[in-house]
Amino acid sequence: MKHIILFCVLLCTYTNLKAQGITDGSRVNGSFQVDGQYYMPDDALGINDSVIGGRKLGLNGFGKITYTLGNFTAGLRYEAYMTPILGFDPAQEGNGFPFFFVSYNSELIEVTAGSFYEQFGNGLVLRSYEEWTLGYDNAISGIKVVYKPFRGVSIKGVYGNQRYYWEKYERNKRGLVRGADAEVDLNEAIGSLQSSDFRVIVGASAVSKYQADNDPIYNLPENVGAFAGRLNLGWNRFNFMTEYAQKINDPSVMNNYIYKNGHAVLSSLSYSQKGLGVVLQLKRVDNMSFKSDRGISGNVLDIGFIPPINRTHSYSLAARYPYATQPNGEMGMQFQVNYKIPKGSLLGGKYGTGLAVNFSQVNDIKRTALNDTTPVGMPGTLGYSSGFFDVSDKILFRDLNIEVDKKFNTSWKAVFQYMNQYFDIETLQGKAGKKPVQAHIAVADVTWRVNAVNSLRMEAQGMWTKEDKGDWAGLLLEYAIAPTWFFTLADQYNYGNPDADQRHHYYMASFGYTKQATRVALTYGRQPEGVICVGGVCRQVPAASGLTLSLTTNF
């Protein structure tokens, strides 16, 4: 309750100040979002009153306000989970102000006190961010300084502790995070290179965490350092990026308390010109989980971020088996070609045809026992050895997908996709004893523009697999009156489920209204069990049935 009073007091104070004209020259901005769900029992899906547990309502909401006056900015965010929507961690429950800050920002220096988000390079050794749809937030509370002493040079320093739901920081429980990063854009920094075709950006980071050692068995490192170096080269239409990170020994729940050092490397090479883009990405990760509490697992308190390098699919069946990074070890590659078949050619037609081919594969790394008496990964030892190019035959994930997008005339256009996926469900979703899923997926997304602002969109999807839940078919119809209204009807049918009693229809009806930045959407229906992933983080979503309201706006 006190939070609401505080919120109202702030509000009234501001209104007052505004009325008196004291705030002239200043700006107030903010936004809020509420996602509410009302759950209904659904016997067919196995959701009865006891599954819901009497909790019929789930509500996630936030409101944030930023105040700017000259070079100063102050802001805070209020969050409420009462109770959290199904699939969010129960530890989210509660409400309060988890995020507030004051900052000063000039061309030379930027100083932030309070909560902040930051990323060094690709984030391998430090990335704090939030992803509302997943309930993910590892904001750092403390101090951040960004200093730009010369043109093309940027130096950053951070110090603080990370957010862990609503739990207050206590010095001897979770860790402290300290980090520094420097980046030099040589073309900017060195006058004679400014007009060069050859572009070079170099950067380096160092991060260390401190966590007291209260372990009764092991002698654990209280300070764990991680270091990364990166290079970005550009030459005409070519671009090369690489980052290498190393972490000293950091025994934790995540790596089963082994004392091995960790490393990760992420590289990409691309070529592009108008109408054509090609990119190849490679990565290797070995024992690189880096959290500010060694005793914790799950999607919390991550200091570093190991990006998965495969395509994030937009269509629901294509995204049924999403890959998530394996921080303990993986080696993968991705290759993508984007090509626009020119207008006027045979295949290009009047408007040109877009073509995209994407392939990615991730294998486990190969681990070799240190000696005859120590099994691989034994706690309290160095764990195993694995050379830089040691890759295992075990495929964790593979995805080949082809996409064509085509405009036929002013009223018809379509996107077609075919995907072939391999998904090691035992490793990636912990479903012991289950065979890897091998699936073919096809999608057709066709839009008919009825007139200037009215359109009808049809999305047909199919997934064919012998494993897990078997075959699926999906159909979605969406009528939109741009830019304001939409009405959607959809069904996903698990017609090939090996268990005949589980061949459910997951029907859904939805409509929404959008005006400027305000959007309201109401959805009624069933939601299949699945995984939602954004960036590198995924969240399990249980099957549910009911009503969902989503409201978002800003000011």
């Binding site: 109202c8 961010y129 671009n239």
Partner: protein
């Protein structure tokens, strides 16, 4: 009870601030080739600017930008409007953005907001989210979501700003 109070106070608050006109906040993001880009560099000699947030995983965003791209020559000729498309793809896919943009043949400026710093500063909760900025750098309109034809309404506003109507 609490929930309703929060909702109510937020709604009231929004009402109070509706008249406010904002500018683009100063945030450092990146260009496609990895250089730092300070948002104060977003400008168009007193002519309107469209700033649109998108990502590789967002189909409606790509449809919106495809629609812009198709009309961009015409729009530029008539009003001088300039489009910036800000990708919020994180380090998972930042290196795929440039090949994708070129593969699409998009002609506008594309920027990379890999840790969503600008997205947060501009209070973007969902994408696509598109801002219209006047010649003095003030945000005059914004819209979240995209459906076929929404670009026409946006362009009407652009024309008004450019004094063509």
């Amino acid at each position: 009870m609490k929930k309703y109070l929060i909702l109510l106070s937020l709604v009231v608050f929004v009402q109070l601030l509706q008249a406010q006109q904002s500018e683009i906040p100063t945030v450092t993001i990146k260009t496609l080739d990895g250089k730092n880009f300070i948002t104060t560099e977003i400008s168009n000699d007193g002519k309107p600017v469209i700033l649109s947030f998108w990502a590789l995983w967002c189909k409606p965003c790509q449809k919106e930008l495809d629609a812009f791209n198709e009309l961009y020559d015409e729009w530029q000729e008539e009003t001088g409007v300039k489009i910036y498309a800000v990708s919020i793809d994180d380090s998972r896919s930042t290196s795929r953005v440039m090949p994708f943009v070129n593969g699409k043949g998009w002609d506008f400026e594309v920027l990379i907001d890999a840790n969503s710093d600008l997205k947060r500063a501009m209070n973007v909760n969902m994408i696509p989210h598109t801002f219209l900025i006047d010649g003095n750098g003030k945000i005059v309109a914004q819209h979240t979501s995209y459906f076929e034809g929404a670009e026409l309404e946006l362009y009407e506003k652009v024309k008004k700003l450019a004094g063509k109507k």
